[in-house]
């Protein structure tokens, strides 16, 4: 009894070691799986993404540009910070249900729903002050002198009016949805 009540230091240490190893394996595995869902390969493994938004993104500067820097789906659509990333991943689990029930499994269904989906993403980006854009871009590091006249003017106005990237840059990586209203551009 006394032996049971008082475990040896050796066995306690063993238990701790096993716990640490299991913890590392679990945590590592969890993160590996989560990171796997952040890859472009994963995102476009569904035809809904591959045939629609991915094809549009491939025409844009975020896919191909002179400096060879590419922003993949998750760079814009998944936060880098762990807490925000987890929240986003949990929200995104709805998309699994959408996939199972086929809410956008044809081009027609996708087009019918894309304004609603886009508005949801624009709202998320606006609420976070375009946090994912700002992982790479910032007004501080922008050399407006080397920008074209139009971009320079627009960025000066955006700074003045405390606007955020997504206020103007809707449609920067995908086609703009049909049926947008003036409120969408406010």
């Amino acid at each position: 009894m006394a032996r049971l009540r008082r475990p040896s230091k050796k066995s306690l240490g063993g238990l701790l070691a096993v716990g640490i190893v299991v913890g590392i394996l679990f945590w590592g595995g969890f993160n590996t799986v989560m990171e796997a869902t952040n890859t472009e390969k994963f995102c476009i493994s569904c035809h809904e993404m591959h045939d629609n938004v991915y094809m549009e993104y491939k025409e844009t500067i975020h896919y191909s540009n002179r400096t060879g820097v590419r922003a993949v789906c998750s760079d814009c659509h998944v936060p880098k910070d762990w807490t925000y990333k987890m929240i986003r991943k949990i929200q995104a689990s709805r998309e699994v249900w959408g996939k199972i029930t086929g809410t956008i499994d044809t081009r027609e269904k996708f087009e019918a729903k894309r304004l609603e989906l886009a508005r949801r993403e624009w709202a998320r980006m606006k609420a976070s002050d375009s946090r994912e854009c700002r992982n790479c871009h910032s007004f501080d590091s922008m050399n407006k002198e080397s920008q074209k006249q139009r971009a320079r003017k627009q960025h000066e106005m955006a700074l003045e009016d405390k606007m955020t990237c997504i206020d103007c840059h809707k449609g920067i990586a995908h086609h703009k949805p049909e049926g947008m209203t003036e409120e969408d551009e406010e």
Partner: protein, 290 residues
């Protein structure tokens, strides 16, 4: 005696007439030239430029910026995008020139304003002729005081609407107009045009509709083609009648111009953004006294 008097009166009239028609043009070699690149605008009427869902600059326009503030350096690129049908042109014409760089010179002598436009003839597209009679037409418009809504910012766009003729689905009889157009209230654009085939100048205006005649300010409009270079000189009185903008020293006016090249008509022209013409005053194009 009677004959002498009649001959004298006729002679005086002729001399006066000649004086009016052949006012002393300035030495253009000494007048500074402003380079303005006209571009092919496709279907981008006033309604389009104000539509935020399609024109990223609609917000800037609402804030009071001018078209030229954002676009003056890139009109040639805009022309390429539109003429090729990549944007704003549902009916692209193969071989249509995307842009026309023009030199603009202005001067006055206290009585008349002289405006000279020169440009190199772009290659012909070979498309069907819309205006058989006139291979080239050039027009300019003036507006005073920004009385027409958006005139200070958008130049000729304030007269260009989606329901005007040659716009998709528009009535063929509907011409240019300005919102609330009224000559009596000063809400109009003063319009001048020279047509190469007819070799004739026109002086009209754009108010509730566009009229090509009625103005009394135009003294002469003369154009010629030397090799591949066109030059057209308009002479107009600083003063004007009804439907003419009266020009005063020390003031600037809204100014825009357009070329119908390649026998084109209606919206198939090349246009400038909105600029300022300063008469002894600051402006994109300055008319100084000679």
């Amino acid at each position: 005696m009677k004959k002498t008097m009649i001959a004298g009166a006729v002679g005086a009239l002729l001399a006066l007439g000649a004086g009016g028609a052949f006012a002393a043009a300035p030495d253009w070699g000494k007048v500074e030239a402003k380079d303005i690149t006209l571009f092919y605008p496709g279907v981008s009427p006033l309604e389009w430029i104000q539509k935020g869902t399609e024109h990223g600059g609609a917000r800037a326009l609402r804030k009071g910026e001018t078209c030229a503030d954002c676009h003056s350096d890139e009109t040639a690129d805009m022309g390429k995008k539109i003429a090729s049908g990549q944007k704003l042109e549902p009916n692209p014409i193969p071989g249509k020139a995307p842009a026309i760089p023009v030199k603009v010179q202005a001067a006055h002598d206290g009585e008349n304003l002289y405006l000279r436009f020169s440009w190199k003839q772009p290659a012909a597209s070979g498309a069907a002729k819309m205006d058989e009679a006139n291979p080239v037409k050039i027009a300019f418009m003036l507006e005073s005081g920004g009385k027409v809504e958006l005139a200070d910012q958008s130049g000729c766009w304030a007269t260009c609407h989606q329901d005007s003729r040659t716009m998709p689905g528009a009535d063929d009889a509907k011409k240019k107009y300005v919102k609330g157009g009224s000559v009596a209230e000063g809400k109009f654009y003063d319009l001048y045009q020279w047509r190469s085939g007819e070799n004739k100048g026109f002086n009209g205006h754009v108010a509730d509709t566009r009229v090509m005649e009625g103005g009394t300010a135009l003294v002469s409009a003369e154009g010629k083609q030397d090799g591949d270079t066109w030059s057209v000189v308009f002479t107009r009185k600083l003063a004007g009648g009804e439907g003419d903008v009266t020009l005063e020293s020390g003031k600037s006016y809204n100014f825009g111009f357009a070329i119908h090249n390649d026998n084109s008509a209606g919206r198939y022209h090349h246009v400038s953004l909105g600029y300022k013409l300063g008469v002894d005053a600051d402006g994109d194009v300055k008319a100084a006294k000679q």
